[in-house]
Subunit: 153 residues, 2 copies
């Protein structure tokens, strides 16, 4: 077994404990193979629906490195990232991800990863109700940001 | 202008300040219209690529309410949620979301929301490299979770 995936799996075993969150673990390494951070699902422990293993590991790496940009780091996760985590990984600029179980495996034990993926493909339309309002007023802030040359990332 | 979207917009103006994060704001209310939490983009302020306005507001609401389930709460956001935030909203069980600017508007001022949406539809394949490894070993943890009747959410 890959030695980094083994660390991700050990974290998944931690995440599985009662009051922790779920059987998911992750680890972030640098290009020299040094472990920067680990994470396990802490949804229950932190009362935080965003505390999936990958996001916990990303937050810890960023806190440690004092930057929000993880270009040139690599993430290992015991399960294919859900769309929230996958998008978080893209926002963090991590480019290379290794995963163990698949989204289908997560779906088969009852998690909604695959349902969210389907929504994002245009299916499962009743998963959430999104309603546009007040676009003109909200656009004023965007325009000011552009005029002030705000940072884009 | 809707009074809750006005609060979201005020938060977007906060998020626009230098060293804060970006021109995005959100507010979560209960079904009686009480404000539970607000949030603005804090990617720079917190060195956290996951600190988008909606996720900041969700985490604050969950911290305040001491639960990870926000069924029966409503979210207003100054811009259509990116896939990370949209998925976080679904994981939090918020069902109703009102948004101001669109993902296209965010794309036009340079943010990658739309690029990530396209990836999730099967396009932009070079945005991230996902590689499966060690599925059999990782599945052992899933199997144990099922045997132990771990909570599914």
């Amino acid at each position: 077994m890959d030695k980094y995936m083994e660390i991700a799996k050990l974290n998944a075993e931690k995440g599985m404990k009662k009051q922790e969150g779920g059987p998911f673990g992750a680890v972030i390494i640098d290009l020299d193979g040094n472990v920067i951070s680990t994470g396990n699902n802490k949804v229950f422990a932190n009362n935080d629906p965003t505390a999936h293993a990958e996001i916990v590991a990303i937050r810890r790496a960023c806190e440690k490195l004092k930057k929000y940009d993880l270009s040139d780091y690599i993430l290992y996760t015991s399960c294919e990232p859900c769309p929230m985590c996958l998008s978080a990984i893209i926002w963090s600029n991590i480019k290379d991800v290794y995963y163990g179980c698949t989204r289908k495996d997560a779906g088969e034990i009852g998690f909604r990863d695959d349902a969210i993926y389907e929504y994002l493909k245009g299916n499962n339309k009743d998963l959430i109700n999104l309603k546009p309002i007040d676009r003109d007023e909200c656009m004023e802030t965007f325009k000011k940001y552009v005029e002030n040359e705000g940072i884009i990332y």
